[in-house]
Structure formats: C-alpha cells, structure tokens
C-alpha cells in the first residue's frame, strides 16, 4: 500500500519531481565523478612515486636516509638477498642500487643530480626506467660507459645522444671520484623534475667509480599488490640486524604523497558532505511543499484510522522512491562518464608546469573504488531519508482535525 501510494504521489506534480530528481542526479553524479577523479589523481601520485625508484619497500643501511652518502652502504649483499628471498611473497621483484648525490657536467653546464647505479634487467621490473627510454637504448648489464639522462637535463645541458657527461662524487675512501660517461639513452618521465634529477649508469660502473666493491646503497622492492607493505616491511626488518639496517615502506619514504593521499581522502569526504547538504535542503524543501500541500489528505488518512507512524512511513516512502530514481540515474550517468574517460583521461598537458608544480600528473584518469561508490549511495539514501523525517514528523504531529481544516 505504501509503495503504491508513494509511487503515485511523487508523480502528482511531475515538474517538481523532475526538478528534485535532477538535483539528486547531479549531486550523485558529481560525488561519483569528482570522487573518481580525485582518487585517480591520488592513485597516480602514488603510482608515480612508487615507480619513480621508490618501490613499495626499501632497505638501506641505518643512517642512509638521513645522510645518503657512500659511507652508509650495505656491504653484506648476500644477507640482504637472503632476507628478501625469505620474506617476500611470490610475484614480488627487487633490485639493488647504488644511489649517491653527484655533480654532472659537460663543457658548458653542470648540475647537482642523483646518480643511480642499476642492475638493468632487475631494475626494469620494478621502476619506470625500463620503459622510459625514448631515444637511444636502455643500459645493458656490465655496460661500463653508458649513461641514461633525462630529456629535460639533456636540453638544459644542450647536449645529445652519444656525447659525454662527467660525473663527480666522493668515493668510499673520501677522495673525489670522477668519470666520463657517454649518453647511451634519453628517458622521459612524468615529471620534468625527475628528468633533471636522476642519471643512470650500470651498478658495476657505479661500484667501480666509487670504489664500493660489491656494496650497495639500497634494495628496492615492488610487490604484486598494495596493502601488505607494512606487514612485509616489519617482517623483513625482523630478519635483518636492527642496528645495521632499516626497512621502510613507501608511505614513510614519500611522506608528501601520503599526506596528499590523506588530503584527497579529506577532500572527497568534504565534497560528499557539501553536495549532500545542498541536496538535503532540496529534498527537505520539496518534501515540505509536497506534505503541506496535502495536509488535508493526511488528515483524511488519520481520520480513516492511519496512525501517526503510518503517515511518517507514507512520506518516507515517497522520499525513498525519489532517492532510488535519482541514485539509479546518477550512478548510470556517473559510470558512463567515468568509463568514457577511463582510456583517454583528462589531458591537462597545457598546464604541464602548473600541474608539475602541484605534483599532479599531466593526464588525469579516473580511479573507481567500490568503497567510494557504495559510500556515496549510502550517504544519499540514509541522509536523504533522515532529512525527510523532519517534514514527515511535522505532518504526523498535526491533530486530524487541524489537518482536515487545511485546504
């Protein structure tokens, strides 16, 4: 009975119903779509951070993070490899690196960069560099002379493929170490800052230049899926001497990204709240109008024997139908717009510098979390029914004779 009455009543004033439905549809769509965009940005920030050499977990000699110099190096590489083999799940990849600050220079220019000595085949499985080379070629294992530089750095140095770059740093003996390398490949990265900051040579070339022997600066790990890094990092730490090694997750290594992720979580929550408040006023207003126009009718229902709770139920049923229709359409439109952008994304390359300054990717792809969609729908349904309680209770409180007196 309530369903029949509720459904028919919402179509008594089709124009008003369409207006409130439109408000709900737009509200739900914006919650889903903008939520997906914010999630997408957040996801890409994390993905970029992880792929730009961070990985999910890193192992360093204790003290390296505070002072990333060759003195803080891991000499017992076998112990590290054994611990990794023991702790990591199937599908995880890891690679060892030498990473120190250096000065790169050519005949005209010089700049402070981070030298990364990599094991090319292993590195390709865990970071962006394996697929980022746009000119020339990727490094091979044991290549003692080749260097990969970023496109932005190449342009800054006004150099090109095949030309030399000199790297200068401090070796393990505290002496100045300097070597020339020939540009074997140019790489592109999401951020121009990455192209300017990093140069890559082979692990063996770095170890020789810095007189490290077999020692490394870090081991980086890429897991098959996110979520387990905290537990795995703790497990790994327990397998290595605490005083000699420190194991950290990407959340600890990229505190800014973690903070931005939390910020976006907050934005999404606030956006949902703001949209709902705006929508809620519309729902209350529409329901109040619909109720007070029909107050006499509610008086008639009370006269016939419907209890006050029945009046509340009748009004909430009408709101329920409005919410269900609005949610259905809003979800369909949201899903359509999100899937339309899933492949192409929103290209903001024309704002590349601004986006990079904010740490944002150039192309934004929406990221859909079932949790966000469920939350948006629940928020609208539950709060929508809650705000409808006000006009419903107001109508139910009228004495039958007072309601019947309304025309």
């Amino acid at each position: 009975m309530y369903l029949q009455l509720g459904w028919r009543n919402i179509w008594r004033n089709p124009r008003r119903t369409m207006v409130i439905l439109l408000a709900i549809i737009i509200g739900v769509w914006s919650m889903l779509f903008l939520g997906a965009l914010m999630r997408g940005v957040s996801e890409q920030l994390i993905r970029n951070g992880i792929q730009t050499l961070t990985g999910h977990i890193q192992v360093h000699a204790r003290g390296y993070r505070d002072d990333p110099v060759v003195d803080h190096r891991m000499t017992d590489v076998q112990a590290v490899a054994a611990a990794l083999a023991d702790a990591l799940p199937p599908g995880a990849h890891w690679a060892t690196r030498v990473r120190v600050n250096t000065v790169a220079s050519n005949a005209r220019y010089s700049a402070g960069v981070t030298l990364v000595g990599i094991d090319p085949p292993r590195e390709a499985r865990i970071s962006f560099i394996g697929r980022a080379v746009c000119e020339g070629r990727y490094l091979e294992s044991g290549n003692e002379t080749g260097i990969l530089v970023g496109k932005a750095l190449m342009e800054e140095f006004e150099t090109q493929l095949g030309h030399k770059v000199v790297l200068m740093s401090q070796d393990s003996g505290g002496e100045i170490a300097s070597r020339a390398f020939r540009i074997a490949g140019i790489f592109r990265a999401e951020l121009e800052a990455t192209e300017k900051q990093y140069v890559f040579i082979s692990l063996s070339a770095a170890q020789k230049m810095l007189k490290l022997g077999p020692a490394i600066s870090e081991a980086a790990i890429l897991l098959p899926a996110q979520g387990e890094e905290g537990r795995l990092a703790a497990d790994l730490q327990s397998k290595l001497p605490q005083d000699a090694y420190e194991v950290q997750t990407w959340q600890e290594l990229l505190p800014l990204v973690t903070a931005v992720q939390r910020l976006y979580d907050g934005f999404i929550f606030l956006w949902f709240l703001v949209v709902f408040i705006a929508m809620g006023f519309g729902i209350v207003n529409t329901t109040l109008m619909a109720v007070f126009e029909r107050l006499r009718e509610f008086g008639l229902l009370r006269a016939l024997g419907m209890k006050p709770a029945g009046v509340i139920k009748a009004i909430l049923t009408e709101s329920f139908f409005l919410l269900v229709l609005g949610l259905l359409a809003g979800n369909i439109i949201g899903a359509a717009t999100i899937s339309a952008l899933a492949n192409t994304g929103i290209d903001l390359s024309f704002l590349a510098h601004g986006m990079e300054y904010a740490g944002l990717p150039r192309i934004i792809y929406p990221g859909v979390y079932a949790r966000d969609a469920v939350l948006a729908n629940l928020v609208v349904m539950v709060l929508g029914l809650l705000v409808s309680l006000y006009p419903a209770v107001k109508a139910a409180r009228f004495k039958p004779v007072e309601a019947l007196a309304h025309t």
Binding site: M1, L5, R8, N9, R12, R296, E297, L300, L301, R302, A303, L304, G305, M306, K307, P308, A309, G310, K399, P400, V401, L404, T407
Partner: protein, 227 residues
C-alpha cells in the same frame, strides 16, 4: 448499549487571546442504529461535536464514550484504532485519496485493518454495486462527479462494518437530486447494516430524512426530538 454518550462535554477554541467556546456542557446519548441529524446554524458547534465523537479532536472537559469506551483515556494510536475499526467518516468534500481509484479508496480501510486482498476486493465491489457504482471501480476521483465521489465515500465508510458513521454536511456540495440519492443510500445502509448514522447539517432535506433531530445553538443542545 448506547452507541454514543456525551457527558458535560465542553470545547473552547483559543485564537491568540480570544477564547471561543464551541461546546458548552453537552449532554446527550445516541442508541445503536439511530439515524440522527445534528442541526444548527454555522458556529453552533455541530461539526466540533462530530469531530469529538469521532476522536478527531478532544474535548476540554467532560467525557465521550463510544461503544462503551471512553475516548479521553485514549492516546493518538488507540484513537486511530478506534476510528479504523468502529467509525466511518463522510466529509463535505475532499473525501477520497486522489491517487487511488474508487475501488482502491474503498479497500483502503480494509487494507489498514489487514483484511486479505481477495476479501477486500470482493467486499469493495459489493458495496460499490450497492451504491450504484457498478463498473466504475477503476475510475480515479477526478473522473467521478461530486455525487459519485460522495457515494464512494459512503461505501468506504460502511464497508468495514463500523458501528457508527459520522457524516459532516455530506450533501453540502451536491445538488438536491444528487443529495437525495446519497441520503437514500445512507438510509439503506443504516437499515441493512444497523450502523448508527450521525449527520451534522443545516440542510433541511437531511433534517427531514433524520429520525431524530438534535438542534444546537451557541454550543448547547436546545432541542432533541425523535420523529
């Protein structure tokens, strides 16, 4: 058992600082099966008295007993049950739920009572036939004339076998011929179902149909005659 008893019933309406006494110590009793008209000019208190008898409003003083049950001891939920099972209402206008058809309007009270759908449909059709609305079951109120709407209201009022039907100026918006037809139907229902009918009216025709006429003036019973 008396159908209705009013003992020193008084009601005063307050509009700001102004107090308007609508009923002043009304005493009357109505037997089961009576066909009674409460008559009087506008403002005499007849609609107020009808509303209080039906539990739509409450008296400020005195006691109303309906079928042996005192109304002033009842909360809104119990009053709703009383109206659902024991009282039928016919109002002057806006009697029907606009989004329900004639038969759905008649079934509505039985639906609230929890009657099964087959029985509801059967009884609703029978009562609509009895009020000469055969074949018009699925018409919405907007598709019925004023007289037809009132007949649906009478059918709804009587279908759940209430012990009392309260009709507040049911013929006021009808022409005399239609009004007479409605009164004939209500008289027939009164005779067949033995339900007590109480009208509030200032329509001479209704007063003529009533077997007992209670005259009110300024909130008091000034005359009470059985014909």
């Amino acid at each position: 058992m008396k159908s209705v008893e009013c003992r020193n019933v008084s009601k005063t309406y307050r509009q700001g600082r102004l107090e308007v006494p609508a009923l002043k110590e009304i005493n009357l009793s109505i037997e089961k099966g009576e066909f009674v008209a409460l008559a009087g000019p506008s403002g005499s208190g007849k609609t107020t008295l009808l509303n209080i008898i039906g539990g739509l409003d409450s008296a400020d003083a005195g006691q109303v007993v309906l079928d042996g049950k005192s109304l002033d001891e009842m909360n809104p939920s119990r009053l709703a049950d009383l109206r659902l099972y024991r009282v039928g209402f016919v109002f002057q206008a806006y009697n029907l739920i606009p989004v329900l058809s004639a038969i759905e309007n008649v079934e509505f009270v039985m639906l609230l009572q929890g009657v099964s759908s087959d029985e509801r449909r059967q009884r609703a059709k029978a009562i609509l036939d009895a009020v000469d609305l055969h074949g018009k079951y699925d018409r919405r109120p907007a598709e019925l004339s004023g007289g037809q709407q009132q007949r649906v209201a009478v059918a709804r009022a009587i279908v759940a076998n209430p012990s009392i039907v309260l009709a507040d100026e049911p013929t006021a918006n009808l022409d005399s011929s239609t009004g007479k037809g409605l009164l004939e139907i209500m008289k027939k229902m009164n005779e067949q179902k033995k339900a007590t009918f109480i009208f509030s009216t200032h329509d001479r025709m209704v007063m003529d149909y009533a077997r007992r006429l209670i005259q009110l003036r300024d909130g008091r019973v000034v005359d009470d005659q059985v014909k």
